[in-house]
């Protein structure tokens, strides 16, 4: 099934999505990768105010290539690097969707509240085209790739619902099949 959704996503928006569905997003997405996750958790633990809004937010695992305030290439980075930190992040903030590539293996942490959406890896140009405007840039001291970019997107996708909020994970399903095939090949 295909969905066109607008951020911020509601719990209801997220619950409707089933692994294998296709989503196109409109609205605001927030980039964060290794260093931004680290700082988000640190600041949250210390009770510091986060300078951007994470209520119902969509996090995008991306370290874009920017020229001033224009995204030149902005495809997803490998999400698995953020898996551990995301489990804690989801406890501290009401994040409704995470966009990335390669999967995270955190179905339990996503359950009933959040989905993982896969954007095609390596597709920096299509993603950049779907970014309408840079709304803000935070924690610029972390550098171009690691800082937080708040982006307004239009028809951002196709995003594959890889992990839904009901304990279904496409990556896991594919891996299990591959494991069986490996045994046959032995």
């Amino acid at each position: 099934m295909e969905h066109r959704l607008t951020t911020p996503l509601s719990e209801n928006d997220v619950i409707k999505l089933i692994a294998g569905d296709v989503v196109y997003l409109n609205g605001i997405i927030i980039t964060a990768r290794d260093k931004a996750h680290d700082r988000l958790l640190q600041w949250s633990r210390e009770g510091k105010k986060i300078p951007f809004d994470l209520e119902g937010a969509t996090i995008y695992h991306c370290g874009p290539l920017m020229r001033k305030k224009t995204a030149l290439a902005a495809g997803p980075t490998t999400s698995a690097r953020m898996s551990k930190m995301t489990t804690e992040l989801l406890k501290r903030f009401d994040i409704r969707a995470i966009i990335g590539k390669g999967g995270m293996n955190i179905t339990e942490a996503l359950r009933d509240k959040c989905v993982y959406l896969a954007y095609t890896g390596g597709c920096g140009s299509t993603a950049a085209k779907q970014i309408k405007r840079v709304v803000g840039n935070y924690w610029a001291d972390l550098g171009m790739a690691e800082s937080v970019w708040v982006l307004e997107v239009e028809n951002f996708g196709p995003l594959i619902v890889a992990t839904d909020a009901h304990n279904n994970d496409l990556f896991d399903k594919v891996q299990k099949k591959a494991d069986q095939q490996m045994k046959k090949l032995k």
Binding site: K101, G124, T126, P158, A178, M182
Partner: protein, 273 residues
């Protein structure tokens, strides 16, 4: 005798990086196209179509196809009779710096422990001396998503039959993280670092070059795993498996597997007087 100038090298590096970062090689593009023709999995088809649209857009706008503009890996073949009276490494470094500014590329270099940004541009240069008086420069910008999924194992010489399993396991464990459909570069033999270099060199081979029996067997087995484009399922996990061999010590059997994402960027130029 052919006199190569510093300016020639700096400009060549800039030009090569621009071409590699913005234009997917023809043979890779046609491998993606034929994957799309044979792929029946609907999700896999959306991924392959997106990749092809992305390649088209990057070429049209002259912008890098992927935000991870990678580590520029250079293979430089210097002819014995070429005349070079300048610091070749610093000329390449200057070319990379120029490319980073002008194309532009993402500055990716950090200190490994502090993770603070390094001033120098990231690059890996492999020099070799060859016959003739020309200088051939090849660049293959290497993204980290696939590089991180690579592996090396020092086998016992009695374990030859385990090599295939090791390669398959490396590909399987990488899942979608290496951005399939991948090219799998395998280096068998040499030394610890030599095997890794063989594997990296194997990635440079054009996809339309003929394959041997072992390479075809590996390709079939890998694609039978069903990981598919971006690990979301499908028939196309790898576009090619390229194996390079090197003599090794009688007590050793190093095997390296270097993964290359679908955005297999590369470009070459030959410099002469």
């Amino acid at each position: 005798m052919s006199k190569i100038t510093r300016k020639q090298v700096v400009n060549a590096v800039l030009q090569l990086l621009r071409q590699a970062e913005t234009e997917l090689p023809e043979d890779v593009l046609s491998a993606l196209k034929s994957a799309l023709e044979t792929e029946s999995n609907q999700i896999a088809r959306t991924q392959l179509s997106q990749m092809m649209e992305n390649a088209e857009l990057a070429k049209k706008h002259g912008t890098p196809m992927c935000q991870d503009t990678g580590t520029p890996v250079f293979f430089v073949e210097v002819g014995y009779d070429a005349e070079i009276d300048f610091d070749l490494m610093s000329a390449i470094q200057d070319g990379v710096a120029k490319a980073t500014k002008e194309i532009p590329l993402r500055h990716n270099a950090v200190h490994p422990i502090t993770r603070e940004s390094s001033e120098n541009e990231l690059m890996d240069v492999n020099l070799s001396l060859v016959k003739g008086d020309k200088v051939k420069i090849t660049v293959a910008p290497k993204g980290s998503g696939s590089e991180n999924m690579s592996a090396l194992r020092m086998f016992n010489p009695s374990e030859i039959k385990h090599i295939k399993h090791f390669i398959l396991e490396t590909v399987k464990n990488a899942g979608g993280k290496s951005c399939p459909p991948i090219i799998v570069g395998v280096g068998i033999g040499g030394t610890f670092d030599g095997a890794a270099k063989l594997a990296k060199k194997a990635l440079l081979r054009r996809l339309d070059k003929p394959k041997d029996e072992f390479e075809l067997e590996l390709l079939d087995s890998i694609n039978s795993l069903g990981l598919g484009p971006m690990g979301l399922g499908g028939n196309t996990t790898a576009m090619a498996v390229n194996v390079e061999y090197g003599s090794c010590h009688t007590a050793s059997l190093p095997v390296a597997v270097n993964m290359q994402c679908w955005a297999a960027r590369r470009a070459s130029i030959t410099l002469e007087d």
